[in-house]
Symmetry: C2
Subunit: 224 residues, 2 copies
DNA sequence: ATACGGAATACTGTATACAAAAAGAATTTT
DNA sequence: AAAATTCTTTTTGTATACAGTATTCCGTAT
């Protein structure tokens, strides 16, 4: 049974995609009326969508003031990753402790798939495929952790982080390889139900991701 | 220079207060039209406020379906505290590491104030005063941690937790005393710039708060 | 009686008109 | 010419009317 999507939902997804894909760049101004004209809807669903995006940290605004796509500072970015690190650590730990046997079996076969994809995409040119399977890896952990609150918060952190990555980090093969390795370490700890190690490896993984993102942004600023 | 508040801001605060104070009970249905009439405004700012409250987890709704004040399950509550624990831990650790000398001095004198308040309110009957100063204690830590992302997320977690406390936990003197003691332990670690201990003590503190809340809710269900 | 189906109704979603505030342009003042 | 001040324009905030969907109520059939 499918439910027809409301206009605001469609608008929300479109705007979000445009922001995350860099169509609307960080710092760019958004005007309700223009967006409404472009998407051929009234301002009402546009405003609803923008409100939601604001609470997710993708746009910024003050009452009666203009609306801008969020532009994150280097400190902001560190803050995001730092926060995400402890949350991913908790998720990994809970996953190791709370997964059912079925879920672990499932997770195991997903890992095999992942290996196959990486094997096939040896050149790692297909950034989108890699990014997708990496996101799926993390999502699986959130779900088997059985903590809904944590899952939702981590999912909402995903947006700003995608925003960061869309600006920097187009192709950094070294990082892609180490990501795969780090995922292996986390997964192995979860499968062995070793919560402590899973937590530690997950935290380290996010820390490394931060270092890579930070480095990429620095390089970009230095060259651009 | 003060800015006149927009209607939606006022409405948001009113609805939020009513939810957190238990005027609108968990599970209760909210009707836009009625709220608009009660507050003597149009539906527009009501809808804006409800959308915001939804993204903060205080109300729940599906498209074209009714709106309800969030009713948290026991598992939800555990999830909230579990998540908050690691985040408070991180905040305490960062506070110990990143506070300036001035901030530490400030924090120290706040602690003295806190002791005075508790001394004066020996009977601990004035629940509101105690709750306020406890919240302030945590807020101070968020600020001196220097991590804005973490602070905002912790602040948004505060709402559902207040919701939990408003239903259970009216007066539990034992818990109030141990809260003071636990706060002392966290503070002392921060003042000594011992990040590891601060983190550990903060995590334990939230875990204990969860145990108390969970117990109170169980008792309430058993009796009520 | 109970289950099903179809109006009636109650509420949320959307469009649009109008109000108010902020940003920008033009004008005056120094 | 620079700064301050008014006024114009642009843009967001709010009210309201209308559209569309879910829920309720009632009648009918089994």
């Amino acid at each position: 049974m499918i439910r027809p999507k409301t206009i605001r939902e469609v608008v929300y997804e479109q705007l979000k995609n445009n922001i995350l894909a860099g169509v609307y760049r960080p710092g760019e101004r958004l005007i309700e009326t223009n967006l409404a004209q472009d998407l051929e809807v009234s301002r009402t669903p546009i405003r609803d969508a923008l409100n939601k995006l604001e609470s997710e940290g993708l746009v910024e605004t003050l009452p009666h003031r203009r609306i801008f796509v969020t532009k994150l500072s280097r400190k902001n970015i560190l803050d995001f990753y730092q926060t995400r690190a402890v949350m991913e650590g908790l998720a990994a730990k809970l996953a190791a402790e709370n997964a059912t046997e079925e879920e672990l079996a499932d997770f195991h076969s997903f890992l095999n798939e992942m290996e196959v994809v990486f094997e096939k995409e040896k050149e790692l040119t297909n950034y989108k495929v890699i990014a997708e399977i990496n996101n799926e890896f993390h999502s699986k952990i959130y779900y088997i952790s059985k903590n809904e609150v944590l899952r939702k918060m981590l999912e909402s952190l995903q947006n700003p982080i995608t925003l960061i990555r869309s600006t920097a980090w187009t192709k950094n093969s070294t990082r892609k390889y180490s990501t795969l390795n780090e995922h292996r370490l986390i997964a192995s700890a979860i499968l062995q139900r070793d919560g402590t190690t899973a937590q530690k490896k997950a935290e380290e993984h996010i820390f490394n991701a931060w270092k890579a993102a930070d480095q990429a942004l620095e390089d970009e600023n230095a060259s651009g």
